[in-house]
Subunit: 196 residues, 2 copies
DNA sequence: GTCTATACGATGATAGAC
DNA sequence: GTCTATCATCGTATAGAC
């Protein structure tokens, strides 16, 4: 990957990915042209192909990177044992992580249908690993008699949908602080599955 | 294929909308061409313009129709007074209605950014009316001391996100019946906001 | 490493024949 | 009401100059 002195590749590459992320999130993958991305970065369209084989790879790269970041960040959380504490930790982490990356989240949940089969499979496998992390919390909580969950897979998807929905409306500097949002969502998630 | 002639306007119009709905949901508005829609219906691309001024109007029409259908269906529910019963009714209605229209739901949620400002405003106004229906249930339940909801607007959006998420995974003939899915989601929604 | 120039197919939309 | 033919534009991607 090393390049000659005077090369801008270490700068232009990330800038292309950043521009593509922004534009894909705002207008959708199919609606964004390579010319538009190039203009945003300040290069000609042809120059993009020094950094990506094609437009599809650019999208796949953004989505895979996002999912790997998510998994890595989740893996670095401190280990807890009580299921309720683990669910609280997961919900707060999920809210925090997603609030900070609205564009990447939007793309990751929305452009799946624009991925070629091989790329789709790769992203889906990563997503499933993340969902499995939540499902194992719910299963442990149910087995411990703390959670009332008729179907752990359904509950997993329902909770993730609820938590991810924060990106639909949350804006920095709004009526509610990040900490308030985090707490409210975590409480709702816990109540939704807690035995009553 | 022999040349077709004759008048089919009562049939062709709805078929165009149905084809557009399917294709937009599968591939996204920007990725679908007018020629593709025409081929699906069995006419030439130019013929579409007898039924819609342009592609944008086709999308706006689908989304506005979907939101009006949703509001009309919701308005026809029997009136209840107890907040918990109303929330249960709303959740079950929402699941049922969305399960039956996965394509329209997907478009209504995903293609907002492809609407021109005037069309966007129209669809958003309809969506807000629907959200307001749920929020008033939560407000009444909180005032009656039945619900613990720190912020009714946030809770509204969280519940709708959770319930709408059913369209991400539910498939006819799957492991869980419609009635089971409906019940589990309704219970989770109620528990999420019920005072403990 | 980026540029200009370009290949070449697809796009939304229109005009006029029947 | 639908067809064929067409327009101007834009799409992704590549080749070769500097």
């Amino acid at each position: 990957m090393a390049r000659k002195t005077g090369s801008h590749s270490e700068i232009t590459g990330p800038r292309i990915r950043a521009a593509a992320l922004r534009l894909f999130a705002r207008q959708g993958y199919a609606a964004v042209s390579m010319r538009q991305i190039a203009a945003e970065v300040g290069v000609q369209a042809g120059a993009l192909y020094l950094y990506t084989p094609d437009k599809q790879s650019l999208l796949a790269d953004l989505m895979v990177t996002h999912m790997k970041d998510l998994l890595a960040a989740h893996a670095s959380l401190p280990a807890l044992s009580d299921p309720a504490a683990r669910l609280d930790q997961f919900a707060r982490f999920h809210i925090r992580h997603h609030i900070d990356r609205p564009d990447a989240v939007f793309i990751a949940y929305m452009e799946l249908r624009n991925l070629e089969p091989a790329n789709f499979a790769a992203v889906e496998a990563l997503r499933r690993r993340y969902e499995d992390a939540l499902e194992s919390i719910l299963r442990d909580g149910r087995d411990a008699g703390q959670f009332a969950v008729p179907d752990t897979k359904l509950a997993t998807l329902a909770l993730i949908a609820m938590l991810t929905g924060v990106t639909n409306w949350y804006r920095e500097g709004g009526r509610l602080s990040r900490a308030e949002v985090e707490s409210i969502y975590a409480d709702m998630a816990l109540n939704a599955v807690r035995r009553v």
